[in-house]
């Protein structure tokens, strides 16, 4: 089995240009099955474009993306039912109740025994009392939990999360992180997490890929990054990278 097939996600020399400007500029990485990886970077670093190419929503200018052995976006229908994603920038229809929304998406993903799956997720995510309520009437934290329930409906082997706790209060954000940790442990799923929240990345991720201007600036475990940059927190490492300080300078 080659490296691409052994990986849950394999990205090779990936480039995306819009009108000549590189949003993603020749990045390469692969994620082992069952791993949790954080994708860090400032605004415009190329995180969302990278995730969009992994999902098959955007066609690369060059390079390849392979998810669960399928070439994206060409073979996306081979694997879309084994993937899912959650993002605060995509909503669920507001007039539909939580139960209706989850039921529609469960049917789209061909989830077996839909009612039972929804009941289980609703119990896990503390949504049972909201199942008959229109999604638009929920608070931001409740909506995030509904989006997470949608993302977990099909028990995805690959879960892509674009800032999953953006705009949540600390308590709800912590609650969401705990649930993601549990899901990963229970299902051995591969998680790729784009985030600006360094605490979240330190807690959840065993590997961190830092992007800047479409390129990968660094790629390692949180512990090794902290040691290499001589910093106490990932936030300081992130600032070093964002402000262009070299690793060895930072270490001094």
């Amino acid at each position: 089995m080659d490296a691409q097939n052994a990986s849950a996600i394999a990205v090779d020399q990936l480039v995306k240009r819009y009108k000549g400007v590189a949003a993603v500029d020749g990045i390469t990485f692969s994620l082992a099955p069952g791993s949790v990886t954080g994708l860090l970077g400032g605004n415009g670093a190329g995180k969302t474009t990278t995730i969009a190419m992994i999902m098959g929503l955007v066609t690369p200018t060059s390079g390849t993306v392979t998810v669960l052995g399928a070439d994206m976006p060409r073979q996306r229908y081979r694997v879309l039912h084994r993937m899912n994603f959650e993002s605060p920038y995509v909503d669920m229809p507001m007039r539909l109740t939580v139960g209706q929304n989850l039921s529609v998406f469960a049917q789209l993903y061909a989830v077996p025994d839909i009612d039972r799956r929804i009941a289980r997720l609703a119990a896990d995510l503390d949504l049972t009392e909201f199942l008959d309520r229109p999604t638009g009437k929920l608070s931001a934290g409740q909506k995030t939990r509904v989006s997470l329930a949608k993302a977990l409906l099909n028990k995805p082997e690959v879960l892509l999360l674009d800032e999953p706790t953006a705009s949540l209060d600390p308590d709800t954000a912590d609650w969401v992180r705990s649930h993601l940790e549990r899901y990963r442990a229970d299902e051995s799923a591969t998680l790729l997490l784009a985030s600006h929240n360094m605490g979240e990345v330190e807690r959840l991720c065993e590997r961190v890929i830092i992007m800047k201007k479409g390129r990968i600036e660094d790629d390692d475990t949180p512990q090794r990054l902290l040691a290499r940059y001589g910093r106490e927190t990932l936030e300081e490492v992130f600032l070093d990278v964002a402000r262009g300080r070299r690793q060895n300078e930072a270490a001094q």
Binding site: K16, T49, M55, T59, L80, V90, P93, R95, V104, Y109
Partner: protein, 273 residues
């Protein structure tokens, strides 16, 4: 996994049903949405109906050709509302910022389009059935009495409306809500060219070639032949159907190309204006 699956051609009626359910939930959750389906067709039918009554009392030809205007307006509404019903369901996904969820799901483009076609039919029937009954009550014009001819008219008009709806959906995917006005206005280009309220012979000779390239032209000519001359022109319906097949194929091809272009341009991420 088969190459059929790779290309996205593996069709699932279960996923189509999921999308139809999604739009049905939305429709029934809002009475203004349902009222809107009936309101404009009813206003149009009443206005043209009373105009016809007035003209028929003052002109011998129209006295003999009772129902031409009402028939025209009802058939025009099938064409217009069919496309609008298709496009509005699609626009609802953009308004709801739900398109990312849909495009990331296993739903195939053909399944998405079929669900939109079914919803266009549902919306159309909710609007047209009460309005056709009003036409009987107010003007004694029974659209349903056209029988098989009505089925032929309806099939051809709805096919055209879906083709236009599919093309507009492609434009929306490619250009975001910046192309929204096309959804509301594109069909009005068909209004003068397909000769809804007058015979094709009225048009200048060169424009008649364009008119005869549009399937609804054959339907409106056929309706006038039926109401005025009491002749069902099967030849016109067959020609309309042939043009419709070509139009539907062209619209589907354009949709797939625009979707492909949207993936290249990254438009699926940014569906606002």
């Amino acid at each position: 996994m088969s190459s059929v699956s790779d290309s996205g051609m593996e069709f699932s009626f279960n996923r189509v049903a999921a999308m139809v359910r999604r739009y049905w939930y939305l429709l029934r959750s809002s009475w203004p949405r349902i009222l809107d389906l009936i309101y404009w067709p009813a206003v149009q039918m009443l206005m043209w109906g009373f105009l016809q009554v007035y003209i028929s009392q003052n002109a011998g030809f129209f006295a003999q050709a009772g129902g031409v205007f009402i028939g025209s307006v009802l058939l025009w509404d099938i064409l217009f509302r069919g496309q609008l019903g298709f496009s509005i369901s699609f626009l609802e996904e953009m308004y709801a910022r739900n398109l990312g969820n849909i495009m990331m799901s296993p739903l195939r483009p053909a399944e998405f389009l079929l669900a939109l076609m079914i919803m266009s039919m549902v919306r159309l029937l909710i609007g047209m059935i009460p309005v056709s009954l009003l036409a009987i009550a107010f003007f004694g014009f029974n659209l349903w009495a056209l029988g098989l001819a009505l089925a032929a008219f309806f099939a051809n008009l709805i096919l055209t409306s879906w083709s236009v709806g599919i093309f507009v959906a492609g434009l929306l995917l490619r250009n975001g809500l910046g192309a929204e006005s096309m959804a509301w206005t594109i069909m009005f280009l068909f209004l003068p060219l397909t000769c809804v309220y007058y015979p094709v012979a009225i048009l200048p000779g060169w424009l008649q070639y364009f008119a005869w390239a549009l399937p609804p032209t054959y339907v409106f000519e056929g309706m006038r032949a039926l109401v005025i001359d009491h002749v069902f022109r099967a030849d016109l319906m067959a020609q309309a159907f042939a043009f419709n097949i070509a139009l539907f194929a062209a619209a589907s091809f354009a949709f797939l190309k625009l979707l492909q272009s949207a993936r290249v341009q990254g438009s699926l991420l940014q569906t606002s204006e």
